[in-house]
Amino acid sequence: MRNDENRLKRPKNLEELAVLFRETHGCLRILAGGAYVPSRLGSSDLFVDIQDLGADRVEKSGDILRIGAAASLQQILEADTGLKELRTPLELEAGANARSSLSLLNFLRSADQRSPFLTALLALAPELELAPSGRFVSLERFPRSQPENEREFPLWMSFRIPDDFAWEFIARTPKDRPIISLAAARKKDSALRIACGGDEHPPRVISQSAKAEALFALVRHAYEASGDAWASAEYRQEMSQVLLSRCLQRLESNALKKEEL
């Protein structure tokens, strides 16, 4: 195999990766499999392909799910995550080819505001483990755009698998981008966490242990200024109540089934 050693590197471990970051002062591009329109490159930029770092896996350990930056959306869909309802937002995100092409890292960078999978993920409260720093940051705080210089990038995403998870959406066709989508995750020892998406604002997260009435009001409020070319705010506010109700029913129903088992 020949390659241009000056432009392309495939580090084998995190130490090698860290060296590349240090030497280039961030003038590099992380390749993780699948790229939505890479930004224009500097003439001396280095390509760092992370496919040999071992971060191309979906791992489940106890109730923790860990997804590598180079794992494709299709791998996530096919993995035994214990979250059957995650399939629908993944299928809505893109067709099979694009899911196989798109790595988690590039998805996180390119996902737009209306992304169904992003909305679903936000309900799961994932943390991103950044490389090479080893720093952790929540997905909510991660900037979803290609940076001019790479200082660090999420190498792993992990979250605690909730006891219950529900996803509801409204779209013009069964596989169209949602006009409104709601994801709800519940863990035994923490609050219900709801992500509200589907409009042209970034998905909003509501974490609330309050009573249902308050929850409905908060979700409605999240769509207060959500009017855009796809739907009116009035419609979204009304539908947020319908979808929340369905999500809660789903969670209840799932909980009952688990108790019966």
């Binding site: 020949r2 392309l8 099979a96 080819n97 409204i170 013009r172």
Partner: protein
């Protein structure tokens, strides 16, 4: 960068730019089965390859990312078994299945589908239909509705499991209602003549013919909806290394024209320039660049300095003719056609009164009035517009282009380029879908001007974003309906008043909107005495706005007409308590009656009254209703309700439609046919197969006349130097017009063959008059049973005695336009709480005359229904207050995927249309007409929501439901 890629089992040395996509590198290396849909973002999936056995989009990877991985392209799958003296293992089962069951229409996405299916079958040899649909979900197809490709994958899987060699073809149901003569080749699902080539990803499409060293063109487009260009500076762009030419309006001859590819004289205003000093929509042309690479050309665009004087735009067609509205076309060169008046932003005007409309209203018991709205939608063919131009050694300009109208393009380009027609040659290779959008001359002049400027070959391919912001679309309209009806359901008068938005230019403005009334309002003439003298009014104003131009789109104005006409019919039937099907049939046109509009209008030419002879509408209603279970479902509350799911409700709806078949006295097609030494024939046609299968259908018709197999007819289409004139592929005309030309040519050749055979029989001592000789099974046979093969006759005529080339040229123009008819049915599931509509079933029963090739024809119906479904529920193009498009890609502009299609069924009701030698009419456009209103009617049936504006979005249904509650 230099590196090695492992492609199709071989190590291939690659030199690639660091940010070069795998797609571009593979195509540069000659893997032409990897297609570009212009998005480069993984939206369409046409660029699918296998990477380590998984189907991925090669546009989503940089070439360097593929290093160390095994890449498989379609080129590795298989070739036909007989390659001259060399035998191969043959085509793969998947390729065979795609070829044999008619899965390949335009073929642009076929390689991608086959590869995705290969990946699936390698890990799952016995997939379910849902799994197949899932595997194909990333590959968008605008032609097939995925019906046959999904069947093909299942068939291939079965073939591989059972080690069979042939896929079963699932034929559509055909119900003859007239006596249909027996035929040998006509009526058979002959394999498409180009399917094998397309299943192998061979060089076929325009971009495949670009040679090394070809310059790449890009177009600078306006960011403003309406502005004058007051200053241009191209110095920096021209100085950029690798830039060969930068052209602005100051560099080009100022020649006014219309981009509409229509016969001479163009029935519309001349209001366009290749480049102008004014821009009229966001996306309008500002400058052309040719450079050594796409990247350099794009950098050059960014270096062009433009100062604009922004002008107030007109974005709402209702504002266009208001006094004081900004004038969009104030150029002195504007050439009017008919009633166009640029001073009031009027591109065309139609005023048609048939009978005495006011008297009809006065005689009605009830008059129903309502306004309907139809949206702007995009053709969304997967192959973008693309043209390649170069000077040939004889100093003639050759333009290879993905066009539906090669001959119109040549004629229209000549004045723009300041070249005589004789110095232009237009070659149309395979077209990757067009749907009317390639009936425009949109890219050819860009490439040609740049070739003239540089002397070098230039290719210009639109990006997906350009397709959305700068190509053409369906005319959006606001349509007021007023219908007078007696209480027994007799229609006494029908009126349609349309306001049509042609956008910034008036291409097809008059003729598209004319069709809106002519083909939809003509279906309902009334009953009893009204039937003898219908009262119909159709008025339309077609206005300019500062939005991207509308143009030709499959159906050509008729889908816009049937949304209001049929939704209105449904509303009236329900208001009067009439059976909706019986009410429609009571008032519908019948055989032996005049097409009412033919007595009053002919696209600006003299009207020519025409009697309609074949109307299979009642049979279509009967067959379609039976197939969908209409009588068990309509009005049956038990069927409408979903046990345990009170928020869901089913509904069923129907719509009746008619289209046209060619333009009478205008559309002309030509064909030439010659006999070869072995008894095969070369058929040269100017007709353009844009994925419809017309080349195959034309071959079948020639074969039927000549008594040979369809594969003995070698079809070539089209090249303005070699093939006879044809008006091109539009108006559902190829089978009817070009087909009749082929039949005429074949009849002449048959006559010559019989005469030659008669002489050969005489020389051998047998007297047989030419008219007594029959052609069948590749032989000429005299009544006594003696025969000569066509090869023997060919050798005799070419080499032995009184040598001559047996060949003929013929052309055809028709005095009639016999309409196809159809009954469209739909069943839906409506979420009463959210308004979300899921279409579950689409059934279409079509009277297209005699069906020449059932597999190809049903593919047309299925694909058309899928496009029309988008028109019904999700497709629309929306602009903000500054004229900027919301939809610029195939994510926001959603077209149906394989994994979300409703069940579909096609039924052909065969009438025998005597104006065609084999009784054919047309099928290409009619499936666009009825789906949206049928779905609208089904939604109304489900939940009472009476939607007047398509697409039927969840919010519209919810709002309509809110009004009811």
């Amino acid at each position: 960068m230099n590196f090695d890629l492992h492609i199709n089992g071989q190590s291939v040395a690659v030199e690639a730019a660091p940010d070069e996509k795998l797609l571009d590198v593979l195509r540069r290396l000659g893997y032409l089965g990897v297609k570009s849909g212009g998005c480069k973002r993984g939206e369409c999936g046409a660029c699918t390859v296998l990477m380590d056995g998984k189907a991925v989009n090669s546009c989503m990877f940089l070439a360097v990312q593929a290093l160390g991985h095994e890449i498989v392209t379609i080129e590795s799958l298989g070739t036909p078994p007989n390659q001259g003296w060399k035998e191969t293992e043959g085509l793969s089962p998947l390729q065979k299945a795609f070829i044999q069951n008619g899965s390949i229409q335009c073929g642009y996405c076929s390689s991608a589908m086959i590869l995705a299916a290969k990946a699936l079958l390698e890990r799952n040899p016995d997939p379910s239909e849902a799994e197949v649909r899932g595997a194909l979900s990333g590959i968008l197809c605008r032609c097939t509705a995925y019906v046959k490709p999904v069947e093909a994958v299942l068939q291939a899987a079965a073939m591989m499991r059972a080690q069979q060699n042939r896929a079963a073809v699932s034929e559509p149901k055909i119900v003859p209602v007239d006596a249909i003569p027996s035929t040998q080749v006509i009526g058979k699902s002959t394999v498409k003549v180009d399917a094998e080539k397309l299943a192998q990803g061979r060089q076929a499409f325009t971009a495949d013919f670009a040679r090394p060293g070809t310059l790449v063109a890009r177009v600078l487009r306006s960011p403003l909806a309406h502005a004058r260009i007051v200053r241009l500076n191209t110095d920096k762009a021209k100085a950029l290394k690798g830039v060969a030419a930068v052209l602005t309006w100051e560099d080009l001859p100022r020649v006014v024209y219309s981009t509409a590819g229509q016969s001479d004289p163009i029935p519309g205003p001349l209001d366009s320039f290749s480049l102008d000093n004014k821009v009229r929509f966001v996306g309008d042309r500002v400058a052309f660049v040719a450079a050594e690479s796409a990247e350099i050309a794009e950098q050059a665009l960014a270096l062009i300095e433009v100062d604009y004087e922004e002008l107030p735009p007109v974005l709402d067609p209702r504002d266009a003719m208001i006094t004081g509205a900004p004038i969009i076309h104030d150029e002195g060169e504007y050439v009017n056609f008919a009633d166009s008046d640029p001073g009031i932003n009027l591109a065309a005007r139609i005023r048609i009164d048939i009978g005495d409309v006011e008297k009809g209203f006065a005689e009605a018991d009830r008059v129903f009035e309502r306004e309907y709205v139809v949206p702007k939608v995009q053709q969304a063919h997967i192959e973008p517009h693309v043209a390649l131009s170069y000077w040939d050694p004889d100093n003639r300009l050759v333009i290879v282009t993905s066009t539906q109208v090669p001959f119109h393009a040549r004629r229209m380009l000549a004045p723009l380029l300041k070249l005589p027609v004789k110095r232009i040659r237009v070659i149309k290779p395979r077209i990757g879908g067009g749907f009317g959008n390639k009936q425009e001359v949109l890219v050819e002049d860009v490439a040609a001007h740049l070739t003239i400027a540089t002397g070098k070959p230039v290719i210009y391919e639109m990006s997906r974003e350009e397709e959305f912001i700068a190509s053409r679309s369906r005319h959006p309209m606001r349509i007021k309906m007023r219908t007078g009806v007696k209480l027994d359901g007799t229609m006494t008068a029908n009126e349609m008043i349309a306001l049509s938005d042609t956008g910034a230019y008036g291409c097809h403005a008059l003729t598209v909107t004319g069709n809106t009334g002519q083909k939809s309002m003509a279906l309902y003439v009334g009953d009893e005495e009204y039937r003898k003298s219908p009262n119909i009014r159709f008025y339309a104003d077609i206005v300019y706005t500062n939005t991207p131009p509308a143009g030709a789109y499959r159906g050509y104005g008729v889908p816009q007409g049937y949304w209001p006409v049929d939704r209105h019919m449904e509303m009236i039937a329900r208001e009067l308590g009439l059976d909706p099907l019986a009410f429609r049939l009571k008032n519908a046109l019948r055989s032996g009656e005049f097409q009412p509009f033919s007595t009053s209008w002919n696209e600006g030419r003299e009207p020519r009254p025409e009697i309609i002879h074949t109307v299979g509408l009642e049979a279509c209603v009967r067959e379609g209703a039976e197939a969908i279970g209409w009588h068990e479902k309509y009005g049956n509350s038990a069927w409408h309700e979903i046990p345990g799911k009170p928020h869901l409700r089913r509904g069923i709806g129907a719509a009746l439609v008619m289209q046209g078949t060619a333009i009478p006295y205008l559309d002309m097609g030509g064909a030439s046919l010659k006999l070869n030494d072995d008894g095969s024939f070369n058929l040269l046609v100017g007709a353009t197969d844009l994925g419809t299968g017309s080349d195959t259908v034309l071959a079948q018709m020639a074969a039927e006349v000549l008594g040979v197999n369809a594969d003995d007819i070698i079809v070539y289409s089209s090249d303005t130097d070699f093939t006879p004139f044809d008006k091109g592929a539009y108006a559902s005309s190829t089978t009817y017009i070009s087909g009749t030309a082929v039949i005429k040519a074949a009849a002449q050749v048959a006559q010559r063959i019989k005469a030659r055979a008669s002489e050969m029989f005489a020389d051998a001592g047998t007297q047989a008059a030419p008219e007594s000789i029959t052609l069948a099974d590749g032989k000429a046979q005299e009544p006594g049973g003696k025969c000569y093969t066509l090869a023997e006759i060919a050798l005799n005529s070419l080499h032995h005695t009184n040598q001559e080339q047996i060949m003929a040229v013929a052309s055809h123009v028709s005095p009639s336009s016999p309409p196809p008819f159809a009954a469209q049915f739909a069943s839906v599931l409506v979420d009463l709480q959210t308004g979300q509509v899921t279409v579950e079933d689409l059934v279409m029963a079509v009277d297209g005359g005699v069906i020449i090739n059932p597999a190809a024809a049903s593919g047309q119906i299925e694909g058309g229904m899928a496009q029309a479904l988008g028109y019904g529920v999700c497709e629309e193009m929306v602009y903000d207050g500054r004229g900027r498009a919301r939809e610029k890609d195939l994510v926001d502009y959603h077209i149906f995927r394989a994994d979300e299609m409703p069940r579909m069924q096609t039924i052909f009701v065969e009438t025998y249309e005597k104006s065609h030698p084999f009784g054919a009419k047309a099928v290409a456009e009619i499936p666009m007409d009825g789906v949206a209103p049928a779905v609208g009617n089904a939604v109304m049936d489900a939940c009472g929501a009476d939607i007047v504006e398509n697409p039927i979005t969840p919010e519209k249904v919810w709002r309509a439901r809110t009004l009811i509650v």
